[in-house]
């Protein structure tokens, strides 16, 4: 390991890691990139298209080249920027996107054939023969494309969500951000300071400039210490604010334990939703490079990155320590790298400066008015060609820093589609100050890039932000710091014949931009999409502005006329695991449990997901092998004796008030306001467009007090709609609504012995048919004083009741009913038997009420009252709805051994099976133990006039076709005598 002097690493804490299986050592405070450089490793990855050898290009999250795969079984993580990985003991990284070894990548052949792979080439070929695209060309392309690989195993880590509501969110902990946080923190404001790095200080950690006579990094440490002491300030390192959303909401991801060798049970990352009254964007700037021929070799990096590696990590990027380093620049900042290196005794070849009048700032050679026109060294830089005054010369060079000026990190400020503005002096895009409500931009992100400017601007932004929210802050003492002029002169790329890379990862060269221009792909979005410029994992952070400049040169327009690209979230890539917030697997949605769940579980019930509810599907007995045995037994028990089923999931809405009757008349298509206390009525609701919406019952418990039931699926929606009608349409009706679905446990007690069973638990209540006939309801007590509601309604067609008790007594009531009904053969039944019973009775449910049907189709056209208005009444009378001749009918197979399959389409016998002859479809089907054959319900054209006709149930999807006989949908007791008995 070779280090130069200084740095912010802890040389006493050695960390072991491997790269491509080879062991190395680094220090605490290293990134993977700095540790690899310290070990002389230059070649780290391969580019996307040409598989060119690549090394470290930057020292931050803008890295286009040094992408690695972190290994670890299911924790394998592809495409991870070595420049952002905090080194830990035991880290294992591998290079990616090559076939064979990293140094002998077979796909590097692509580079030899690169002339064939020019921008957009794939749109022009691979078209013949047609079938070859999916079979040959595309699979080959797909295998070669992509970068790293997933393990294909479920992500084993946990993730969390968090919410913060600070007065001020400061994004970026460099000079401007620290000063802003300090100013606001001292003023007592609630401050969150987030920075993607694991240390606060930003560029100060990478520079050797002084602040108030301290080294910049030491000043940052002092400020950090003070901020840590303030209870109103929350410092969040390793936290990337990735997106700016509406009304001051920012998305951020904190990498909680990615840097810990053994994180134990800790969450891996946390997704923060930060709702800030005001925000300061102090995200600094990213350096750009200057394309020249073969400028992509390992060992060529951004000049500012080279300075960061020297100052913060005490490394230089040559393969061999002592090889001379050169700098290529169009501004003074490149010289500052030379100064920093010289100060640490690094051998320098000099600074190649495109400016004719450039002068050295220290003791090194400057080539003024010079450019670099080529480089050599396939797997690591060996030499560069310097052109000056018409002459060119190859010189040996171990590493090259390139300084093309700095682009403010305007990304977040553009997330609301605000466009940055071109600053012709600074030769860069700066953010529009009003780009985003509540956002103040400070420091280098605002184009205020010198240390002194950044400090002052951070303090200013904090004062301005606080005053907008009525907080005052004392003006901070702004410490003395350096003014670093840049003296930049426009120089965007070195002209030449060879390939000069603009976008490294996606292999977009100046030539590709020229070809896009030649082919009229000139608008910036066409340029991007035709060449893939800026579409790699770095989103063109080091490429886009340079590419615009090249295009501007070709079109003769200015850069701002040529355009800007739109920045979209996220700022840097964010793991899908954390964006999912940890609610995966069985926790994807809440489990709603019915009141009798515990009892059902104790009985070994099989459960089924019904929306968010878990409902008992059937209750298998020990001797039952097939589910049908259980379901048939349960259904028969209801027909022959008595069954009990938890129907709590059906929606219940309490409607109270003097105008409740009038209100219900307007909600239901049928007349509902006339239902008398103690009575229940079936009701149909329409949508305002006239289609059938929901059905259920409405029970009048007392004058002005009703209980409306809805289907399980629509419980929330019907309530919402009723509130809409109450609040928005008819606010003058004196009526109040409350959803009581979860407040009452409701059990269906159905079967010829249901009266007998219930009479054993009611307290002094006359259950006789005369006293409590079909469609009655009453409040009463059961089991010795438990308040309850009893409804005599039937879904199965049998004598039946539904009994409701406060939800917490539901389980006990179920136990009691089963206990006291043993001699009656009481049988719990689940949703499957419930379905069988209702199909046998011809009751519509979700499959029939699917939102596409009308009252006519359901055979309920007469329920839509003409005597009153109601939601949907007017629209239900339109031609298309009235004219719909499909009707809900029943079906039995002509051959009783055949099944009826829901989803089959109905075709008149003898007609071709095609859409033109489609006569309807089977909505629901089951085996009816009562009839001893399969049965079904379905909609059929003129179905009500086709009883006894045989039709074809076509199921070409599964290659089956069955003859069915059309019958009444009421397979059981069509006269309805049983339920009135």
């Amino acid at each position: 390991m070779s280090r130069i002097q200084g740095g912010l690493i802890d040389r006493s804490r050695k960390l072991s890691f491997t790269f491509n299986g080879k062991p190395y050592q680094g220090c605490a405070g290293d990134t993977l990139a700095s540790a690899l450089l310290a070990n002389g490793v230059q070649l780290i990855g391969r580019s996307f298209k040409y598989h060119r050898p690549r090394g470290v290009f930057s020292a931050g999250s803008e890295e286009p080249n040094a992408l690695v795969e972190l290994s670890g079984g299911a924790r394998q993580e592809p495409n991870t920027r070595a420049t952002g990985i905090e080194l830990y003991d035991g880290l294992q990284a591998n290079s990616q996107n090559h076939i064979g070894s990293l140094s002998h990548d077979l796909l590097a052949l692509n580079d030899l054939f690169s002339p064939f792979f020019a921008a957009g080439f794939y749109y022009k070929t691979f078209m013949w023969p047609r079938a070859f695209w999916e079979k040959l060309y595309e699979p080959a392309i797909r295998r070669a494309a992509g970068l790293g690989a997933l393990s294909m195993l479920p992500d084993p880590d946990s993730y969390d969500r968090g919410y913060l509501h600070p007065d001020l969110l400061v994004i970026g902990g460099g000079a401007a951000g620290l000063m802003a946080a300090l100013t606001a923190g001292r003023a007592g404001a609630q401050v969150v300071l987030a920075d993607e790095d694991f240390m606060l200080g930003g560029r100060l950690l990478a520079e050797d400039t002084a602040i108030a006579d301290l080294p910049g990094a030491a000043w940052a440490k002092e400020v950090t210490t003070e901020l840590q002491s303030l209870p109103n300030v929350r410092l969040m390192t390793r936290t990337t604010v990735f997106g700016a959303y509406d009304h001051g909401i920012y998305g951020a991801v904190e990498r909680v334990s990615d840097h810990i060798a053994d994180p134990g049970a800790s969450v891996r990352q946390t997704l923060w939703r930060i709702t800030a009254k005001r925000t300061i964007l102090a995200t600094g700037a990213t350096e750009r490079h200057i394309p020249f021929e073969n400028n992509d070799r390992p060992g060529i990096m951004l000049s500012g990155a080279m300075r960061a590696y020297a100052n913060r990590w005490a490394v230089t990027p040559q393969a061999k320590a002592g090889d001379p380093i050169a700098i290529f620049t169009n501004n003074d900042d490149g010289h500052r790298t030379a100064l920093a290196l010289a100060a640490k005794g690094v051998a320098l070849h000099g600074v190649i400066d495109t400016r004719a009048g450039a002068k050295s700032l220290g003791d090194y050679e400057t080539f003024a008015g010079a450019t670099i026109t080529g480089s050599k060294g396939r797997k690591g830089l060996k030499s560069i060609r310097i052109a000056q005054a018409g002459r060119s010369e190859w010189i040996d060079c171990g590493a090259l820093g390139v300084a093309g000026g700095w682009n403010p990190n305007v990304h977040l400020a553009s997330h609301h589609r605000g466009r940055p503005v071109w600053d012709a002096d600074k030769l860069t895009f700066v953010p529009d100050a009003d780009s985003l409500p509540g956002l103040h931009i400070a420091g280098a992100a605002a184009g205020q890039g010198t240390t002194a400017e950044a400090l002052a601007d951070g303090a200013r932004a904090a004062m301005a932000a606080l005053s907008e929210i009525g907080l005052s802050a004392a003006p901070a003492d702004i410490p003395r710091a350096g003014e670093e002029p840049t003296g930049i002169e426009a120089f965007w790329h070195v002209p030449g014949k060879g390939r000069a890379w603009v976008d490294f990862q996606n292999d977009v060269t100046v030539k590709d931009i020229k070809l896009a221009h030649q082919e009229n792909m000139r608008p910036v979005e066409h340029l991007k999409r035709w060449t893939t410029l800026g579409m790699a994992t770095d989103q063109g952070k080091t490429a886009n502005v340079t590419a615009l400049a090249v295009m501007a040169e070709l079109t003769g327009k200015t850069i701002p006329e040529t355009g800007t690209t739109i920045f979209r979230p996220p700022y840097t890539p964010v793991s899908l695991g954390v964006l999912g917030g940890g609610d995966s697997g069985a926790n994807f949605r809440p489990h709603r449990l019915t009141p009798t769940h515990a009892w059902a579980e104790s009985q070994g019930a099989v459960f089924v997901e019904v929306g968010q509810w878990m409902r008992a599907q059937w209750f298998p007995q020990p001797d039952e092998i097939h589910w049908r045995e259980s379901v048939d037994r349960e259904a028969k028990a209801v027909r022959d004796a008595v069954g009990v089923c938890d129907v709590t999931t059906l929606g219940k809405i309490d409607v109270q008030g003097p105008d409740a009757a009038e209100f219900l008349n307007r909600i239901y298509a049928n007349m509902m306001g006339t239902v008398k206390p103690g009575k229940v009525r079936y009701g149909l609701m329409l949508r305002e467009d006239g289609h059938a919406y929901d059905d259920g019952t409405c029970a009048c418990l007392a004058e002005g007090h009703y209980v409306v039931t809805t289907t399980t699926a629509n419980a929330g929606l019907v309530y919402q709609r009723m509130e809409f009608a109450r609040q928005c349409l008819w606010p003058d009706l004196d009526v109040t609504l409350i959803s009581t679905t979860d407040a009452w446990a409701q059990l269906a007690v159905a079967g010829p012995k249901s009266r007998e069973l219930l009479s054993r638990i009611v307290d002094d209540f006359d259950m006789s048919n005369d006293a409590f006939p079909f469609m009655s309801c009453s409040e009463l007590t059961v089991c010795g004083g438990l308040r309850a509601r009893l409804f005599r309604i039937s879904f199965s067609g049998e004598l039946a009741y539904e009994i409701a008790v406060p939800a917490r007594y539901g389980n006990a009531l179920m136990e009691r009913l089963i206990e006291v009904g043993q001699d009656l053969g009481v049988t719990p039944y689940g949703t499957e038997a419930l379905g069988v019973l209702r199909i046998e009775k011809g009751h519509a449910a979700g499959n029939e009420l699917n939102g596409q049907t009308t009252a006519n189709m359901l055979g309920m056209q007469r329920m839509v009252s003409l005597k009153k208005d109601s939601i949907g009444a007017v629209m239900s009378r339109r031609e298309g709805l009235i004219g719909d001749k499909r009707r809900l009918v029943g079906f039995v197979p002509v051959d009783a051994t055949q099944p009826v399959v829901a989803g089959s389409h109905l075709i008149t016998q003898g007609d071709p099976v095609d859409m033109e002859h489609d006569q309807g479809w089977i909505t629901s089907a089951c085996y009816s133990p009562h009839l001893g054959s399969a049965i079904g319900l379905g909609y059929l054209e003129n179905g009500d006039q086709r009883f006894d006709e045989e039709v074809i149930a076509a199921n070409p999807l599964e290659g089956v076709s069955v003859r069915l006989r059309v019958v009444s949908p009421h397979f059981i007791d069509p006269e309805g005598e049983r339920l009135r008995d």
């Binding site: 494309a145 790293g148 979209r568 070409p956």
Partner: protein
């Protein structure tokens, strides 16, 4: 000169000097027979089929921004013909057949890739609904298969079969479905139209219609007045704004739909997969990114950007469905403006103004419709009669009660 592998090789060997422009940058003429407003996928396809199939001439496409900057520039690239209702299914199947010949027809590789779609189901009710839909597909001549959970375990073993809140019970598969390279589709149609003499005019915003006595005369634009015998509007996302200039209110709301792409990955997902217990659909691009999306944000918007709750909701669905994507990273998200119609289905129809035609209301399914939409709109513009696969896409279906409501949620656009 045409595109071919031989040509690519020849140009590569001669420094790519021979490639001409993909299309011209013509100045607008004073008048055209047919002006198409909107240079997105549907507008460009319309122009192409008008010129190639219906042999019309003097055609211009007016585009406010750059060609292909409509929703064809920002979608999840899925093509399929797996609809339920008779008003839709034959149209989308016609579109699928056009996709299948698109590259050869256009001489442009739009990377139509028939890698299949799986619509997963998680309950018996969903299975029945998919069976009904799959049979409707067969009835209109499309392909479809019903797969069991065992089939899926073989085919896509990385799905969450064993620890799911809503277990995967099976899927409706359409093998001929897949994806296409969205920008390539726009460019292919643009180049094909340009080669047939259509003027593609970029940076030309329509600012008004000139209508005299109920008949269209032309359009006012940011580049001056342009006369037209017929004007076809295909500006999904901006339909209400543009048609308001002709005094029309539409059965459409504009909503934002976010879409997402991950960093590039080696082959991970074979075709298109849709989750049936949450709204999540995903495919993998040839470049390697997982391309996915979910629900619209749910409120009216022209902002082309969405908010965090839907981002979380979509990715939560993704993680629930395939927890192996947890280590992949979201690279980019974006928002497009959808014409959400009142029944979830599109409109291709004449208007009450003679010579003014409308194509819109594609909700978030417009990409797959691009070829058939262009074809049917061209048919309508050229013949004044609806194409036989698009007869149901009329304005008056709403008032008459013939909505094409695949989801059955009624006139609430954010539920479609």
């Amino acid at each position: 000169m045409g595109f071919s592998g031989f040509r690519v090789i020849k140009e590569a060997l001669t420094g790519h000097k021979g490639w001409g422009t993909l299309w011209r940058n013509p100045e607008p003429q004073a008048e055209y027979d047919i002006v198409i407003v909107g240079g997105g996928g549907h507008g460009l396809a319309t122009a192409y089929y008008l010129a190639s199939v219906y042999k019309q001439s003097r055609i211009a496409v007016l585009e406010k921004g750059w060609l292909g900057s409509g929703n064809i520039g920002r979608n999840t690239t899925i093509i399929r013909s797996n609809y339920l209702l008779p008003g839709n299914q034959p149209f989308y199947e016609f579109s699928m057949k056009l996709w299948e010949n698109q590259e050869q027809d256009l001489n442009f590789n739009s990377m139509v890739s028939q890698r299949s779609i799986l619509n997963l189901f998680h309950s018996d009710g969903q299975r029945d609904a998919y069976r009904r839909r799959g049979n409707a597909m067969h009835l209109s001549g499309a392909d479809g298969q019903l797969l069991s959970q065992d089939d899926l375990r073989q085919m896509v073993p990385f799905l969450n079969f064993d620890n799911a809140r809503f277990p995967i019970k099976g899927a409706l598969m359409q093998k001929r479905a897949g994806t296409a390279r969205h920008d390539g589709v726009a460019w292919g149609y643009a180049r094909g139209a340009d080669q047939r003499g259509v003027d593609l005019i970029q940076n030309c915003e329509v600012t008004g219609f000139r209508i005299e006595n109920g008949t269209i005369r032309g359009v006012e634009t940011s580049r001056g007045y342009i006369g037209a015998k017929k004007v076809g509007v295909a500006v999904a996302g901006s339909s209400s704004r543009v048609m308001a200039m002709a005094g029309m209110r539409l059965p459409i709301e504009s909503h934002v739909l976010q879409a997402f792409v991950s960093e590039g990955l080696k082959p991970t997902i074979p075709g298109v997969i849709t989750f049936g217990a949450g709204h999540f659909y995903v495919s993998q691009s040839d470049k390697g990114g997982l391309v996915f999306g979910g629900d619209i944000d749910g409120y009216n918007s022209y902002a082309q950007r969405g908010n965090l709750p839907v981002v979380e909701d979509v990715i939560e669905g993704g993680m629930a469905l395939m927890p192996m994507i947890g280590r992949a990273r979201l690279l980019r998200s974006w928002g497009g403006i959808m014409d959400m119609s009142m029944d979830g289905s599109p409109i291709i129809d004449k208007t009450h103004i003679d010579g003014l035609y409308f194509n819109g209301g594609w909700c978030y399914g417009g990409f797959k419709a691009t070829p058939a939409s262009g074809y049917a709109f061209a048919h309508l513009l050229a013949t004044d009669t609806p194409h036989n696969t698009a007869t149901a896409f009329r304005f008056d279906r709403f008032s008459r009660g013939h909505v094409i409501d695949e989801k059955g949620v009624g006139a609430q656009p954010n539920l479609h």
